[in-house]
């Protein structure tokens, strides 16, 4: 059982707070993602787990052992943490061959020659790089370097893998392939993994659970599906999904005992399930959110639909992205490529009422 527990972690760099009161509970064998835009503190948190950075406050427990706690003056050095790290720039030792690079962690641990050779060979076999062992990092492509960096982490069978944007420097096609391989590798080895990325697609596709961070503050920890279906606030809603969720400001009003949102361009009557949840809500400014795939387009007026003008059409293979404007706001709808719309035409956006989101405009928190 290799769990990682982070309690109340805070790290400041001068005046800048990189991580603020972070609490995480990473389960055994989990592929856990730290996701957020650059500068959100995700890498800092990772380096704290590795022991490469000393936080200002909080505790980190690895495998039921307290490894970091400024309060108790505990800071186990990275060498003794049994974590392996993969860096964005791979950090391969340039003067060593691939063999020597992978062997390094074993050599440092004073393993016997035979053990080292066995370990390196097995790792190279696992990653499909046995033919590269005599090469220097300079002679390798990006993807090959990535594998060597992984090999160096795998070879010593650490308790935890820490990965800091390991795929960010690869080209798009390779990134998709490596991400699948990483997932498979994780299934094979079952090692608890903490993975940092700014790419939400990457996070959604390989993570068992994803923690979204913004400005050093944890926004939400959930499975990818839940993150997508039930974002807890506007930031998560806007960050997850591409094209992003459509957002429309409005006023929550009560008319004849029914809750409605006055969107200025039209009135939107809340469906029963939402109304149920918002019984207690007062009249206030809210934001109505709906994903592009939850819009269907109608040629004629319908109740609860929002009238909009078609601005632009983007045919992306098996789907059509329809860009629309209503008043000051712009939207994207995803439809079938066969959808009969023309640029300049007025249409009605019919929302899938089961899938709408409502956020408080002031706090950004989800109301339903």
């Amino acid at each position: 059982m290799v769990k990682v527990v982070i309690k109340n972690l805070t790290k400041k760099f001068g005046e800048v707070i990189a991580v603020k009161n972070l609490d995480l509970d990473i389960k055994d064998k989990e592929f856990f993602i730290l996701l957020g835009p650059s500068g959100c503190g995700k890498s800092t948190a990772l380096l704290c787990i590795a022991g490469l950075i000393k936080p200002d406050e909080g505790e980190i427990w690895l495998d039921n052992k307290l490894v970091t706690s400024p309060e108790h003056d505990v800071q186990v050095p990275p060498q003794e943490r049994e974590v392996a790290m993969v860096f964005q720039d791979y950090a391969l030792y340039p003067h060593m061959t691939v063999y020597q690079n992978i062997a390094f962690p074993l050599e440092v641990r004073k393993k016997s020659k035979g053990e080292i050779e066995k370990g390196v060979k097995a790792t190279a076999e696992l990653l499909g790089i046995p033919r590269l062992l005599d090469r220097k990092p300079k002679q390798l492509s990006g993807g090959q370097r990535q594998r060597v960096a992984l090999g160096r982490a795998i070879v010593r069978e650490p308790k935890i893998f820490l990965m800091d944007e390991p795929l960010a420097n690869l080209d798009a096609k390779l990134r998709v392939r490596m991400r699948i391989e990483l997932k498979k590798l994780h299934q094979k080895l079952g090692t608890t993994t903490v993975y940092v990325t700014h790419d939400q697609v990457e996070a959604m596709s390989i993570g068992d659970r994803v923690a979204v961070l913004k400005d050093g503050v944890l926004q939400q920890v959930s499975t990818p599906k839940e993150l997508y279906d039930a974002p807890r606030n506007i930031f998560v809603a806007g960050f997850i999904g591409s094209p992003a969720m459509n957002m429309l400001e409005g006023n929550l009003v009560k008319k004849n005992e029914t809750l409605m949102i006055d969107l200025e361009v039209s009135m939107f009557e809340l469906p029963t399930w939402a109304e149920e949840k918002m019984k207690e809500a007062k009249e206030s400014k809210v934001i109505l959110g709906f994903r592009p795939e939850h819009i269907s387009l109608a040629k004629k007026y319908q109740k609860n639909a929002i009238e909009a003008k078609v601005d632009m059409l983007e045919l992306i293979g098996r789907e059509l992205h329809v860009h629309l404007t209503a008043g000051e706001c712009s939207f994207v709808a995803i439809t079938m490529p066969t959808e009969d719309v023309k640029v300049g035409e007025n249409v009605w956006m019919v929302l899938d009422e089961e899938k709408i989101h409502i956020f408080d405009e002031k706090t950004g928190e989800a109301l339903i």
Binding site: G51, Q79, A84, P94, P105, V108, R109, K138, R156, L162
Partner: protein
């Protein structure tokens, strides 16, 4: 064939003139060193010798043999010591952050600008109290200590270019501070070692002042001081002096010949990320 433009011709004429001015003393030195005493008096310095002889070379070597060996010993050792200490300092100051490390570095940087003359009296006093006055060991210690600031600066700046992730990777791989230095940084340091080494070798070899005040007699006498002594008090043996000067210049020339290729690589290192 296209006729070269006048500006080109002018440029080359100027360059040839400069080259000539540069080579003239060197040429005079060689011709004079190959002349007999008779020749020195009867010919103009730039003229080639009428009856070339190696006699002045042998005589100069006779006098300078011991000082040259002295100089070679302390120069080589002080170069090696100051480079290694500078390299370790550079590693600590660039890759291991500790409280006040920037302050420490500032003091090192200031050390580069301390003129030799200021430290002469305390230096002689310290050396004589340590019992190292007039000894090779004393010269090694002095030159090593005096070289540490500039070596530290050069190595620190070089190590700054090495990505921190490399050090972090080594740490998580299980390597300690010393292993990281020995296994990761040192093997990557050939370029700064060549640059710093050549710089140190030349400056220690060429030093006159420390050698002059720290050595008496012949026991620890550096070649630079011995060469100055060659000029005599009443009569000047120009041919022996010139031969001595050439003997004295030889080791530095050899160092540049051997390491010149690497030196250029070293200067370029850091300019382009490897």
């Amino acid at each position: 064939m296209k006729f070269p433009r006048p500006r080109r011709i002018l440029l080359y004429a100027l360059l040839i003139l400069f080259a000539f001015a540069f080579i003239l003393p060197f040429w005079t030195c060689i011709t004079t060193s190959l002349k007999t005493n008779q020749d020195v008096k009867s010919t103009v310095p730039v003229e080639p010798p009428t009856s070339p002889t190696l006699e002045p070379w042998m005589e100069a070597l006779n006098i300078m043999e011991k000082p040259l060996l002295n100089s070679l010993t302390f120069t080589l050792l002080a170069t090696i010591f100051s480079c290694f200490i500078g390299s370790i300092n550079g590693y600590v100051l660039s890759k291991i952050r500790f409280k006040g490390s920037d302050m420490v570095f500032l003091f090192f940087a200031i050390g580069i600008f301390i003129p030799y003359q200021i430290v002469l009296i305390p230096l002689v006093l310290t050396m004589s109290r340590l019992g190292l006055y007039n000894s090779i060991e004393g010269l090694i210690l002095t030159h090593t200590a005096y070289g540490i600031p500039v070596c530290t600066l050069l190595f620190r700046n070089f190590y700054k270019e090495i990505p921190d992730s490399l050090i972090m990777a080594a740490k998580t791989d299980g390597a300690g501070t010393w292993t990281i230095y020995r296994r990761i940084l040192l093997p990557l340091s050939s370029a700064p070692f060549v640059v710093t080494g050549v710089l140190q070798f030349t400056s220690i070899w060429n030093d006159f002042l420390f050698g002059l005040v720290l050595a008496r007699g012949t026991e620890a006498l550096p070649a630079s001081v011995a060469l100055a002594n060659l000029k005599g008090t009443t009569t000047a043996f120009w041919n022996v002096q010139m031969a001595g000067a050439l003997w004295y210049a030889l080791p530095v020339v050899v160092v540049y010949l051997i390491l010149g290729k690497y030196l250029i690589k070293g200067y370029m290192a850091g300019a382009v990320k490897g």
